[in-house]
């Protein structure tokens, strides 16, 4: 798709805003609609758009498979680790109340960290699924010409 100048320019303009919107949905999730699942998908959409416009190879160079795999695992670890941290502080698994000086703040902090873990995993998994399907068989670039 390398010769579509308009598409390339618009994509370049859009991608930073998609990423920013993803971060907004992620970190505003504890006040309004949003959260890790939605933010992760929006964030991944930016990478998918990049790969569609600039080719899979370039996208893979930006985030190598190794990092995607790590992101997938780290997100789950952050989620589960928050629960373990609560356990170490003497409460039940995933009881965030003890994470800060009083329960409401603890709940707030806990859900914030957990949602970050969810977002990381969802974004990584979405990109991984896209790469896995796009990388099989015909290359996207070859299909175009």
């Amino acid at each position: 798709m390398s010769h579509h100048l308009v598409v390339r320019v618009i994509a370049k303009l859009l991608i930073p805003f998609i990423l920013l919107f993803g971060l907004y949905v992620q970190f505003h999730g504890d006040f309004g609609p949003g959260g890790g699942f939605q933010a992760g998908v929006i964030f991944a959409a930016a990478f998918v758009l990049y790969a569609l416009v600039y080719g899979l190879e370039n996208a893979r160079r930006i985030i190598p498979d190794k990092y995607i795999r790590m992101g997938t695992a780290l997100g789950v670890l952050i989620f589960a680790g928050t629960g373990v941290a609560a356990m170490l502080l003497g409460a039940n698994y995933l009881d965030y109340s003890v994470l800060a000086h009083d329960p409401p703040h603890g709940q707030h902090l806990g859900i914030f960290v957990v949602e970050f873990g969810v977002g990381l995993t969802v974004a990584s998994v979405m990109v991984a699924i896209f790469f896995a399907f796009a990388g099989r068989g015909h290359k996207i670039d070859e299909m175009e010409d």
Binding site: R69, T72, A73, L77, M87, N92, Y93
Partner: protein
């Protein structure tokens, strides 16, 4: 302090180590971690069973939210017993896994194999431990999704179609269960199983509750491969890597049967399940059909893994037969067979893994003369086969004995004829193996030599357990009886 958190740790330890396996990348490190974790999970399940038998039901509030609003992990004699089975098989199979996985899965994917294995273990343990109906669905899907991956790793290309078929069946089964849970939530307004049980009783005439029962029973029967909904099982077991077959055959269907038991006896209560919905005769007919048809089909299989897979369909029939009596004795028989079948099929499939490791095939042709070439492995297969038939001094005999007692106790002595017939059919297919292995000459240039010790030891531990629990029945029968009494006592 740790003792109070054991229910959570049972799930969290394998759950946390699954992503760690991804991060470790190297097969050797991932294997070491998975090995340690599986044995830790086993230790936790032993401690939990001890706690439950000493001091009764344990309830753990996840996130500190009180039931019935929060998710509760609730451990009573029934699921403590199933947890122990799953964790023990998980630990033994992972010990055995390294050489077999290296050969059958291929390098580069081993760390991910162990990740899927741990996730599958997490899912199975989670289904068993949780006291929340929706949570059961989530864990069921965790274990199913990872088992689709595990099955598709088999070398034969038919592993892919087998896995796909399992995916279709498994998803429909789990979704039916989900519909059932939804209907129950509509009728009762709760998801907590203990709370649900109290609220279902007064409204048992309601059509919603009856529909929920039907959806859950059918969905779980698919997951448990109860005849005639077993179509996914033979190929999935036959073409999965040996380690996976041994693990899934010994645990996955057992856990589904456990959920079935929970649904029948705890959520709906046996009055509703067996008197209002007249489940008994239905289950009995299906169970007997499974026993006879499964055993008959397995006689004609040349692929030994497929042969044992069809025999699993028959053995699931025995378990369900025990449940269908709706008496303490019958349920004891069913629960005992749950444990005993895990021992026999675990041992047999592990031994077949040894055969595959050395000869590269599990066809009955390839087993000719194997008794002389791999004496220890073959002896394990014969011993497991004897247990499958139900020869005295093996666990197979104990569970069939209890099923016979239950049949006579319920005044249905004619059922013993079917049990006997299925056992005779088992003799035929086990004899085919013995004949090939001991009475046929080895083909020329056949590979000889035993499998590595690390594979033989777990196999023999399981096989010897067949004999140990066949003689000393205090532990297994004792726990199964307590579980059955708990189920029927709690239901009324």
């Amino acid at each position: 302090m740790i003792a109070a958190h054991l229910p959570a740790l049972q799930i969290v330890v394998p759950l946390v180590s699954a992503p760690l396996c991804v991060l470790l990348v190297k097969a050797r490190l991932a294997y070491a971690l998975a090995l340690v974790v599986c044995w830790v999970a086993f230790a936790i399940s032993v401690l939990l069973l001890g706690q439950v038998l000493d001091s009764g039901v344990i309830s753990y509030r996840l996130g500190g939210w009180a039931p019935p609003w929060g998710i509760e992990y609730r451990i009573d004699p029934v699921n403590a017993y199933v947890l122990l089975i799953v964790a023990a098989i998980g630990a033994l199979v992972i010990t055995y896994a390294k050489p077999s996985v290296a050969r059958e899965v291929g390098s580069g994917r081993e760390a991910l194999f162990y990740t899927s294995y741990l996730l599958c273990l997490t899912g199975l343990l989670g289904v068993t431990i949780t006291g929340d109906a929706f949570n059961i669905f989530v864990f069921l899907e965790i274990s199913s999704l990872s088992s689709y991956v595990l099955i598709s790793l088999g070398q034969d290309r038919r592993a892919l179609t087998a896995s796909f078929r399992y995916l279709i069946f498994g998803t429909i089964g789990a979704t039916f269960f989900l519909i059932g849970v939804g209907l129950l939530y509509q009728a009762t307004g709760t998801l907590n199983i203990a709370d649900m049980a109290n609220r279902v009783a007064p409204i048992e005439g309601s059509r919603t509750v009856q529909a929920a029962f039907a959806f859950m029973a059918v969905g779980l029967a698919v997951k448990a491969a109860l005849f005639p909904l077993h179509a996914w099982l033979p190929n999935a077991y036959a073409y999965a890597p040996s380690v996976v077959t041994a693990f899934l055959a010994a645990t996955a269907t057992k856990v589904s049967i456990y959920v079935l038991i929970r649904t029948y006896f705890t959520i709906f209560g046996h009055d509703f399940s067996f008197e209002v919905m007249t489940l008994g005769p239905v289950l009995m007919v299906l169970a007997i059909a499974a026993m006879l048809i499964g055993s008959t089909i397995s006689i004609f299989q040349d692929d030994v893994k497929r042969l044992l897979a069809y025999s699993s369909v028959a053995q699931i029939g025995y378990m369900v037969l025990g449940l269908s009596f709706d008496t303490v004795l019958g349920v004891t028989g069913g629960m005992l067979h749950l444990f005993n079948h895990a021992l026999m099929k675990g041992g047999l499939f592990l031994a077949l893994g040894c055969v595959f490791y050395r000869t590269g095939s599990v066809n009955i042709e390839a087993m000719k003369g194997l008794g002389h070439r791999m004496p220890w492995t073959m002896a394990a297969i014969v011993a497991g086969g004897l247990s499958l038939i139900g020869v005295p001094l093996t666990v197979g005999f104990i569970s069939k004995w209890y099923l016979l007692l239950a049949a006579i106790d319920s005044g249905m002595w004619w059922i013993s004829i079917f049990i006997l017939m299925a056992s005779l059919l088992a003799i035929i297919y086990v004899w085919r193996l013995v004949e090939a292995a001991y009475l046929s000459p080895s083909p020329e240039n056949a590979p000889a030599g035993e499998a590595p010790l690390i594979m033989l030891i777990p196999t023999w531990v399981l096989v010897l357990a067949n004999f140990y629990f066949g003689v000393d029945t205090r532990v297994s029968v004792g726990v199964a009886t307590r579980a059955a009494e708990f189920l029927l006592g709690a239901g009324s």
